[in-house]
């Protein structure tokens, strides 16, 4: 008998491994109710795609929870399950995003809120355009996302647009005139803003004295870039980058005694939450963001509270979460008085939403902007809010 060759101990070891595997898969099945729960009858199925794991997980999780807060709010206010959210992980990767999209199609998705990051969004937008699924992305900001597709809309600024608006804002508020830029040239978001900014700046009387770049792999030492800005006499450093490298730049600028005005974009939102970051370094930092968690209005307060309750942390939601929240509520507002319901096909829902979003006259006011409208190209039109960090808190500049 062949089994005699396995010792008793070896057999136990093997069964142990098998049992552990089974046990884990079982507890996984019960633990993920919110992300892939069973279908509730009569609910419109909203799919979400964004990175929950990987380097950009922070943004994916923010959008996931932001959207969930909005779905819960809608369901509570209606007293029944209007929307059902199924969020799938794409790891910030185009291939995985398409996989996630196909998975959601098997589930029966009718509307897509996503994807969170740009490159996956372009890949998925092509699929939704073919399959006629209405897509509203909270934060994929490249113009390629909406180009040539009538069914894709953005809740965030496009990158070049944000660059232009930043230049306009700096010129209008007279924040500085000799400008140094440090941007991440391995990142589409950062490069996109830089291109928009550098095109608009000369016409607004802003002089760009130093342009320096870095990549994801060299985002630890910024002395070269800062020294260049310092030696060229820059009085304002524009940082169209995410907050993690920005926190290092602020630290290194301080240690070399370089104190210009620093201006960031919406990716800078979150800098006060970086672990181990001395928030006094960010004092005086100006950032343009559509959403401020410390705002006083009732809707923001309610959102921040619900978000903290859902995530179980004391961390304030960032603008990604607010964008996703607005996405769901904008869809809800557009669908509220329409004839479509959960049994409508995704193509019917898409056509209905295109009638509102694509009309040019649909106005929505939410957390990330008052009186937002959408152009027929899918780009949103809203004003950025300028905030300055004083005493470790955001304060409005307007």
């Amino acid at each position: 008998m062949s089994l005699e060759h396995i010792s008793r101990r070896g057999f136990i070891k093997l069964t142990g491994v098998a049992a552990a595997g089974l046990g884990l898969s079982a507890c996984g099945g019960s633990g993920s109710g919110s992300s892939s729960g069973s279908s509730a009858a009569g609910a419109i199925k909203i799919g979400g795609i964004g990175p929950i794991t990987g380097a950009t997980a922070i943004y994916g999780n923010a959008t996931k929870f932001g959207a969930q807060v909005a779905v819960d709010k809608v369901n509570d206010s209606e007293g029944k399950t209007v929307f059902e959210l199924n969020w799938q992980d794409d790891e910030g990767d185009a291939e995985k995003a398409v996989n996630a999209y196909n998975n959601l199609m098997d589930w029966g998705m009718q509307i897509l809120v996503g994807t969170t990051t740009t490159t996956p969004c372009v890949a998925v937008a092509d699929k939704t355009a073919n399959d006629r699924i209405f897509q509203l992305t909270p934060s994929a900001s490249s113009t390629d996302v909406t180009a040539g597709k009538d069914n894709v809309f953005q809740m965030c600024f496009t990158d070049p647009n944000q660059g232009e608006k930043s230049a306009e804002y700096i010129a209008k508020k007279k924040l500085g005139s000799k400008i140094a830029i440090i941007y991440n040239n391995s990142d589409a978001y950062s490069t996109g803003i830089y291109n928009g900014f550098s095109k608009a700046a000369p016409g607004l009387g802003l002089e760009i004295v130093s342009t320096q770049m870095f990549t994801d792999d060299s985002a630890t030492d910024f002395s070269v870039q800062l020294n260049d800005a310092k030696s060229k006499g820059a009085d304002l450093v524009f940082l169209p980058i995410y907050y993690t490298p920005a926190s290092l730049i602020l630290q290194q600028a301080k240690s070399m005694g370089f104190a210009p005005k620093f201006v960031g974009c919406d990716g800078m939102d979150g800098i006060l939450t970086v672990e181990g970051f001395d928030t006094s370094l960010a004092e005086g930092l100006v950032l343009l963001t559509p959403f401020v968690a410390s705002a006083d209005d009732a809707e923001t307060k309610g959102f921040v509270e619900a978000y903290k309750k859902l995530t179980g942390t004391s961390e304030d939601p960032n603008q990604f979460a607010a964008d996703a929240y607005d996405c769901v509520l904008a869809i809800y507002a557009a669908l509220k008085d329409s004839s479509v319901n959960a049994s409508s096909s995704n193509a019917d829902i898409c056509a209905e939403l295109l009638k509102t979003f694509g009309s040019g006259s649909y106005v929505y006011s939410g957390l990330t902007g008052k009186d937002m409208t959408w152009g027929s190209n899918g780009e949103v039109s809203k004003d950025p809010k300028g905030v300055v960090i004083t005493n470790g808190k955001y304060e409005s500049l307007d």
């Binding site: 396995i6 884990l24 992980d89 996989n99 890949a123 040239n185 490069t191 996109g192």
Partner: protein
């Protein structure tokens, strides 16, 4: 019947490998026609084909030539982006169809082969860990070069720049590759059939190379470099052949992969992707082409099929990898499997013997 039995062992083994691929393709086609396959699986077919080609080509370097290459995704990205440019260029001449894809894949293979020669010439004089380090660096260098590469196409032809989209000096036209954004608006030419044909082609090249004089020389270098040198084998040359063929095949797989998505960024082809492909090869068994194919297919499907368990899926994926490694290397389990195989074979032999007796008996009666 006799003919089949008289075939050499390698021919039989190769026939089984081709057979597995062809049968898998036909079964999938049948299931798709019968609408018995989910969206997710259909969406995975082309990436699986591309990863299988990658695994086969890396197996040539890692398994057959015995070198550790950690930058295989670099060749994939060279192929992907050169293929993209080729598609945009030839689309207007031959139309966006299978012929265009074929041209793109061939050009991708040529570019990746050139990259392979450039890297291989200095690198193939190194051995062991040094090769691993240099290929690792190569993967990163390619990624950073592509992050800075801008390519545009207008009426005057192709424009290249390493600075910015403005520096291309375009007059109208279209920007094909835009630095870190990569390429967008790619025509999706890849299909399951194209992937299947590419796998067969890759298999054909690799299996024939292995069983040729060159292949035996490559394996001789792997097994004992000094002995191989002493019988007059040009070590650098044969290692370079394996490396360049592998690079070219990886480039072709890259073009197939890229043409399946409407956007692709250089970031995709990073160290992690290189390691992913290496995992396919190692789990399938180094030098075992068939194992690599099966591992690539299973490990691409597995994380998608585990989506229902949500956050735990990557954990399960890791556990599966570890279990497979333990199981395949455990002497006890192997002896059990070996015994089953032995018993199966013996039973088969018995039957054959009985059949032979029966035939003999029949002949006597006559």
């Amino acid at each position: 019947m006799d003919k089949i039995r008289n075939l050499s062992k390698t021919t039989k083994s190769n026939a089984i490998t081709y057979g597995i691929v062809i049968v898998a393709f036909l079964v999938m086609q049948g299931l798709i026609a019968a609408h018995a396959v989910s969206h997710s699986l259909i969406g995975l077919l082309v990436p699986i084909c591309a990863y299988i080609c990658m695994a086969i080509s890396l197996n040539l370097v890692v398994g057959i030539s015995g070198e550790l290459s950690l930058g295989h995704a670099g060749f994939m990205s060279v192929g992907a982006f050169s293929g993209l440019v080729a598609v945009s260029f030839f689309k207007g001449i031959v139309g966006a169809g299978p012929l265009c894809l074929l041209i793109a894949i061939v050009i991708a293979g040529v570019f990746a082969a050139v990259a392979g020669v450039l890297i291989g010439l200095p690198v193939m004089r190194l051995r062991g860990d040094y090769l691993a380090i240099v290929t690792l660096a190569f993967g990163e260098i390619i990624k950073n070069l592509l992050n800075n590469l801008y390519v545009g196409l207008d009426d005057h032809g192709l424009h290249f720049s390493m600075k910015s989209a403005e520096a291309l000096g375009m007059q109208g036209g279209k920007i094909l590759i835009e630095g870190p954004k990569g390429a967008v608006g790619i025509p999706q030419l890849s299909s399951f059939l194209a992937g299947f044909i590419l796998i067969l082609f890759t298999l054909f090249v690799v299996l024939n190379l292995i069983n040729s004089r060159t292949g035996r020389a490559i394996m001789a270098v792997r097994d004992n470099r000094i002995a191989a040198e002493s019988v007059g084998i040009n070590v650098t040359k044969y290692r370079l052949i394996a490396f360049v063929v592998s690079a070219a095949l990886a480039g072709m797989a890259g073009a197939l992969y890229a043409m399946n998505f409407s956007s692709i960024a250089p970031k995709k082809f990073d160290f992690n992707t290189s390691i992913l492909i290496l995992v396919f090869v190692v789990l399938g068994g180094m030098g075992n082409i068939r194992g690599g194919i099966i591992a690539a297919a299973l490990l691409t499907v597995l994380p998608e099929q585990l989506r229902f368990i949500g956050d735990y899926r990557m954990l399960i994926y890791a556990i599966v990898l570890i279990v497979v490694m333990i199981v395949t290397n455990n002497a006890k389990i192997q002896s059990v499997l070996g015994e089953f195989k032995e018993r199966f074979r013996r039973r088969g032999d018995d039957k054959a013997a009985q059949a032979a007796d029966a035939v003999e008996g029949g002949a006597k009666h006559e």
